[in-house]
């Protein structure tokens, strides 16, 4: 992506607290339209917190979050979602007592049920497994299937910004590849903007146009995916001995 691309998400100086404990200590992140941006970092660095803060839960105590030209820092979570920011959150959060179909309907609940039939067909192409499980309860799916469902549910919202929290977590390498291929394809085909949090740094940085490294609630490094992949510090901390 070109550097001059239109900014879609601009995070400036965001601080988030859990009670009195500070989780994000002034974070700046930019995501341009049509970009895949990844945020890598160790467990507990605050990656998921940033993702949830963008969605307004928890709310940023300081700083600003501007999305598509609109300040969303103080907007309620459901209104942020209606601006077509879709998230596949940490822990997947599938509705366990709803069927796969109902979970997907929940994803599409904003106001695009008219596209439902075409969109769900597309999800079946991406994740054929979901079609087989369509009338099964979400809670009975395997971890990988739940992950696919969480991503598909987010995509059903026809998002402008897709945020994925550790889509590779706990999945077999083959499925990880399948999911990452799907993300790449969506980005290439539809120009979907993706903000991706990953511990699986190697795959994430290979996929992403740009990346950020977060340590203890602060962004310590940023650059293109390739730059970060070749950066000795990143290699030492997140890649050596990791899954290649």
């Amino acid at each position: 992506m070109t550097e001059a691309a239109k900014p879609l998400l601009t995070v400036r100086g965001v601080r988030t607290y859990y009670g009195n404990i500070i989780a994000l200590k002034g974070v700046d992140v930019d995501v341009a339209q049509g970009e895949i941006v990844t945020l890598i970092g160790a467990n507990g660095a605050g990656k998921s917190t940033l993702m949830m803060t963008i969605c307004g839960n928890p709310r940023a105590r300081d700083g600003s979050i501007v999305y598509d030209g609109q300040d969303i820092t103080r907007l309620p979570t459901h209104d942020i979602a209606r601006l077509r920011i879709a998230q596949s959150p940490e822990g997947r959060r599938i509705f366990p007592r709803m069927t796969v179909l109902e979970n997907l309907q929940m994803g599409a609940s904003i106001d695009n049920l008219e596209f439902f039939d075409t969109d769900i067909q597309y999800m079946f192409d991406l994740f054929p497994r979901l079609k087989e499980r369509l009338h099964q309860r979400g809670g009975t799916l395997s971890g990988g299937e739940q992950q696919m469902l969480a991503i598909a549910r987010a995509l059903m919202a026809r998002p402008k910004l897709l945020m994925l929290d550790e889509p590779s977590l706990g999945l077999a390498p083959l499925i990880v590849k399948q999911i990452f291929d799907a993300i790449r394809e969506l980005n290439r085909r539809d120009g979907l903007t993706v903000f991706l949090v990953e511990q699986n740094a190697f795959h994430a940085l290979k996929l992403a146009h740009r990346g950020y490294v977060m340590v203890n609630g602060v962004i310590t490094m940023s650059g293109s995916g390739r730059e970060l992949l070749e950066n000795p510090e990143v290699r030492a901390a997140y890649l050596e001995g990791g899954a290649h």
Binding site: C55, N57, P76, T77, H78, A81, R82, A86, Q87, P89, G91, R93, F95, P96, R97, M98, E102, Q105, M106, G107, S109, I110, L113, G139, T140, R153, A157
Partner: protein
């Protein structure tokens, strides 16, 4: 078979009591849904729900008298339907206000806070009605006296079903069917269930959780209002203290059926209705309520998840 431990006419008496039990059980079931839905979505026992039911019966009383005496509506059916709708709307509004005033501000507070607030609301409602409507039974003229004899045993004991009972059965069945459709098949019902299962995720998908919670209260109240109207029609009187016992029995029904489970609430309601009428017939009418509440204790001790409730643990 005719003469057994139950005395003469065993079969006829039994069937008659089952008919009576299902009738009263239908009302418990309608009220129990309000308890179970609210518990399902915010994990709170709405102790004011029984009094909401009582207030709805007063709404029905007031408008039934208005419609029949002032506006001179002669058709009982029309009056009843109108009264039921009015009571549903007014009760829904009342509960919407109660939720906004007494419960919503306490969300995110410690678990006991809304519970205490609900007990407070319960006292406010029953005392307000006592002051505003007086402490005595308020009667209505009988809506209908129609009774049909289903059959007469060889000894001449009749098994009856009254038109009132038929109305209660039919209205309850229709309403539950409509309600079930809304919860299972519409976007609104899906949003409601989503909030019940994972509020945070629901909001991430654009569901307005606060509004969904309010709506849950209002739906529960509307069903209680139907029960209140039917209760008034069935017994012909209502008094300010009428919220308590049916309220606790409906709560027992919700627990028996498995709190959080909608079919459980209906099943629990019917069972409580049956148990208490049969107990009243065969054991002791004085101890009817004791029987109903003993079930609450027994279920809580030995089967806290209830008949159709789900176990607490879930595969994640």
């Amino acid at each position: 078979m005719r003469v057994t431990a139950g005395g003469l006419y065993f079969m006829e008496v039994f069937v008659q009591q089952v008919i009576n039990g299902i009738t009263i059980g239908s009302l418990y079931g309608l009220i129990a849904i309000g308890y179970t839905m609210v518990f399902g979505i915010i994990g709170m026992v709405n102790f004011a729900h029984g009094d909401v039911f009582m207030v709805s019966a007063f709404f029905a009383l007031i408008f039934l008298l208005l419609l029949t005496s002032w506006f001179g509506i002669a058709s009982v059916t029309l009056a009843l339907i109108l009264v039921m709708v009015i009571s549903m709307v007014l009760t829904g509004l009342l509960v919407w206000a109660i939720e906004r005033i007494a419960y919503a501000p306490l969300r995110g507070s410690f678990r006991l806070a809304p519970l205490i607030s609900a007990i407070g609301m319960s006292i406010v409602l029953s005392n307000f009605v006592q002051v505003a409507q007086g402490p005595r039974n308020k009667p209505i003229p009988p809506v209908t006296r129609e009774v049909y004899t289903l059959w007469q045993g060889p000894t001449g004991y009749p098994v009856n079903i009254s038109l009132k009972q038929i109305i209660i059965w039919v209205v309850t069945a229709l309403l539950l069917a409509a309600f079930w459709y809304v919860v299972q098949k519409t976007a609104l019902g899906r949003a409601q269930r989503a909030c019940e299962q994972d509020r945070k995720m629901a909001s991430l998908l654009g569901v307005n959780v606060d509004r969904t919670i309010s709506l849950t209260f209002v739906i529960g109240a509307a069903l209680a209002a139907v029960a209140g109207t039917l209760f008034l029609m069935y017994y012909g009187v209502v008094v300010f203290s009428d919220g308590f016992t049916p309220g606790v029995k409906a709560f027992t029904a919700a627990v028996l059926g498995g709190i959080g489970s909608l079919p459980g609430a209906v099943l629990g309601g019917l069972l409580i209705g049956l148990i208490e009428t049969l107990w009243g017939q065969y054991v002791s009418a004085d101890y009817q309520n004791v029987a109903a509440f003993s079930i609450l204790v027994i279920v809580l001790i030995f089967m806290p998840q209830g008949l159709l409730g789900r176990p607490e643990v879930e595969k994640v």
